[in-house]
Symmetry: C2
Subunit: 266 residues, 2 copies
């Protein structure tokens, strides 16, 4: 897709040209528009989503934020991800904009509840009680590299299994589901799954990521044949393992071949 | 895709529950957010896009508009399509939101030029000189059914060949390209192409639509085999043609089978 933010598996991720501007962080925001991020990570064969809990509340939500008046929407999404995870060069994909009126039903009451629990002023509430149309992005991160930083309205975070997410703030449950559907549909054409893995991986680890995203088992021989036929993988020389069993081959993505594949697939 | 607005080829399109609200038409709009529509039609084996020309200017643009403060974003897109084409039940798909700062570079000057040529007041300019993030939708229409109605800032419209579009207003050229890429990528999973055809069609007409959208020739026997294997087409009994040559079979989509296919593909 022309508008995909970047193709950036592993070590050769497109770098962000500029770190978030401090003036933008202080905030002079566009009204009525927000950004919400579905941050996917892969841990112990489970696909996880990073969620934040509102301070002194049991309400969980996606990491999100607003767009500076002098900031690209995509840059806002990158900034929000950097602020929450400490990661700069992550695979990020805009997938859908949520503009239903009903997504804001009950929003003011929710915000009142949250503000009350946090002892915040009505000034904050006034800003938050706008109707928001939110742009959904999903990110794929290496779970082990994330250092979660809470924002000023959160007091806890959690990586929750995508199949076991509780009822979330506003329409965030729907945003997660829609993001997952888009991730699934882009697994073949965008090589999205590789962004969840470290630089080197076994074929079995790769298959587990695919199976977890797709939510179904795949036949090992077929999967391996398909992956090798894409001609994007580099097999790394085996080190002597000393064990009785053959160590599995390690692979990594071949940068140039992967880019050629993506160009031809788009 | 869960968020696809509707699957609505031909006669069994999902109907819009409500016609645009007159109060919304009078306008109390969300600031900073707009909607732009890439309306695709198929005419004489060409894929066309409906464009509007600003009054007393040679600047062409996509049909677009704003979102009412009490209106869903999707409803706004439907309303704008209805206002410009007279069509209610058309296939409509949100595909990308354009939020770069640079899309507004020169926008005020462009609007000044347009307003000046139309003899409009600075009040209008003030509203239009906001920074806009625009939600892109594409629509697939039966070309012959469209009755174009100009808006109050346009004095001409044209169905332009998608390969021969002039430089458009702001980033509208990029919006068309991105919309086309999304249409191409959804041709198999969403049966999008059928929305460009009348209720009944020959296999050859169907192939022409596919070839035009994809921008490449397809092998006739393979295409026919693939289409029949989807098990979504109903072959209509031939009428006696009276001619020396065999008349080609006519087909139409089988509603239930098409829906089952879409459910399994999403």
């Amino acid at each position: 897709m022309r508008r995909a933010m970047s193709f950036s598996p592993n070590k050769y991720k497109t770098s962000f040209n500029s770190m978030p501007n401090k003036d933008v962080l202080k905030g002079d925001w566009l009204p009525n528009i927000s950004v919400d991020c579905v941050i996917f990570g892969f841990q112990e064969n489970h696909l996880k989503v990073l969620l934040l809990k509102f301070r002194n509340n049991e309400i969980w939500s996606l990491p999100g934020g607003f767009i500076g008046k002098e900031e690209d929407a995509d840059e806002a999404a990158k900034r929000i991800l950097w602020q929450r995870t400490g990661l700069e060069n992550i695979y990020l994909q805009q997938f859908h904009t949520f503009g239903d009126l009903k997504r804001n039903i009950g929003a003011i009451e929710k915000h009142e509840e949250i503000n009350l629990a946090m002892g915040r002023s009505n000034e904050d509430l006034k800003w938050l009680s706008h109707r928001y149309i939110t742009i959904g992005y999903y990110a794929l991160v290496e779970y082990s590299k994330v250092k979660v930083t809470l924002n000023d309205v959160s007091d806890d975070s959690s990586w929750m299994d995508v199949d076991q997410i509780p009822s979330l703030f506003l329409d965030h449950t729907e945003i997660v589901k829609t993001g997952l559907a888009h991730l699934r549909s882009s697994i073949d054409t965008k090589l999205a799954a590789f962004n969840l893995l470290p630089e080197t991986f076994t074929m079995s680890e790769l298959q587990q990521v695919y199976e977890t995203i797709l939510g179904k088992e795949l036949v090992r021989t077929n999967f391996q044949r398909k992956m090798l036929s894409l001609d994007i993988l580099e097999r790394i020389e085996k080190k002597y393992s000393g064990g009785a069993h053959k160590a599995p081959y390690l692979y990594r993505l071949d940068k140039k071949k992967a880019e050629a594949f993506l160009t031809s697939a788009s």
